[in-house]
């Protein structure tokens, strides 16, 4: 089984997708309501894209894929705090 990492491992792709540093940003899991820094999400980085799960309830909260050199983030269950 693949050993999960954390949000630090996808910091570069997150920066590319959002245009800013994201690991210290706090997010709320829409599945269980727990909040944590993006760096604290449970990340499976070995898939064709990276899958981030809530470290509390394990729900898939974010999927990150790179297509033709561009990083895209999909947020099925992650509410990010207001980005300044």
């Amino acid at each position: 089984m693949t050993v999960p990492l954390d949000g630090n491992a996808i910091a570069g792709d997150l920066f590319a997708a959002f245009g800013r540093e994201m690991t210290a940003v706090v997010g709320r899991c829409r599945s269980c309501g727990v909040t944590c820094a993006v760096a604290e999400l449970c990340v499976y980085a070995r898939a064709p894209g990276a899958v981030a799960r809530c470290s509390s309830c394990n729900a898939v909260v974010m999927v990150l894929v790179t297509i033709a050199g561009e990083c895209h983030a999909h947020l099925p269950a992650l509410e990010l705090e207001a980005l300044s």
Binding site: L5, N8, A9, A11, G19, E21, H72
Partner: protein, 249 residues
């Protein structure tokens, strides 16, 4: 896709290897010349991208081992057997070679000298790399902040920055504890075995001293240490963690 790609300020740049330093049998430091380096914070990392002749690309993250105050950017890379990227970086790259990277990256696992509290740095294996940047930053800042380093390695030969850690231990404010998990010298006076709850109870500051804690290492190490710290009463929000693992090396 919920969000289209935005133009970030993080672009790939070419660096040149100025020097290589063998830290252990499996870990090598790369001293880099980076003309477009904007400066970094202690604890940040870079992404390195290798491109094969046929266009295939592989990308990995590596922590920065140098302090913001150091003249050059240094990365320390541990070779993972059968890895796709690390063996090239540790065994093939030579001074004068170019390397494509982007960074600095990360804003969570960072320590700035402006932060208060005693500093507790806990690492397993090459997890010590970003903590070494913090230690050098501490030295440069000349702060009256106490620092404790707890480092776990399989054997003494595998302790990265061993000599530098010994020099740091000479500072009055610095305490270095080494845990060896597989082999130790006959007269080893450090810890024998894993960094567990009992060892941390003795080696870490109690929660009332409000230490600022950074834990970096392989996922299993980080989770065991963080859980033990919380078991010992440390509030989870005082513990910052960074996990690394073989995502392909």
């Amino acid at each position: 896709m919920a969000r289209a790609a935005l133009p970030g300020r993080l672009s790939w740049q070419l660096g040149r290897v100025l020097d290589t330093i063998d830290e252990t049998q499996r870990a090598r430091s790369l001293v880099l010349e980076l003309p477009n380096w904007p400066g970094h914070r202690a604890g940040q990392h870079v992404d390195i991208r290798l491109t094969a002749d046929d266009g295939y690309q592989a990308q990995r993250g590596y922590s920065i081992a140098s302090a913001p105050e150091d003249n050059e950017v240094i990365l320390t890379i541990e070779r993972l057997e059968n890895g796709e990227v690390s063996p090239y970086l540790t065994d093939v790259l030579e001074p004068g070679d170019e390397l494509e990277l982007r960074g600095p990256i990360g804003g969570y696992f960072v320590w700035d000298a402006s932060l208060s509290g005693p500093l507790l740095l806990i690492s397993g294996g090459s997890g010590i790399v970003p903590l070494r940047a913090m230690l050098r930053h501490w030295v440069a800042a000349r702060l009256p902040v106490e620092v404790r380093v707890i480092h776990s390695a399989r054997s003494l030969d595998e302790v990265i920055y061993r000599d530098e850690l010994m020099r740091l231990a000479a500072y009055e404010e610095v305490d270095v504890r080494i845990a060896l998990t597989r082999a130790w010298p006959e007269r080893w006076r450090g810890h024998r075995g894993r960094v567990d709850r009992d060892f941390l109870k003795d080696a870490a500051w109690p929660p009332q001293d409000q230490p600022r804690i950074y834990v970096c290492g392989p996922t299993a190490f980080v989770e065991a240490v963080a859980a033990a710290l919380v078991d010992n009463g440390q509030p989870p929000d005082t513990i910052k963690t960074e996990r690394f693992g073989p995502t392909g090396g």
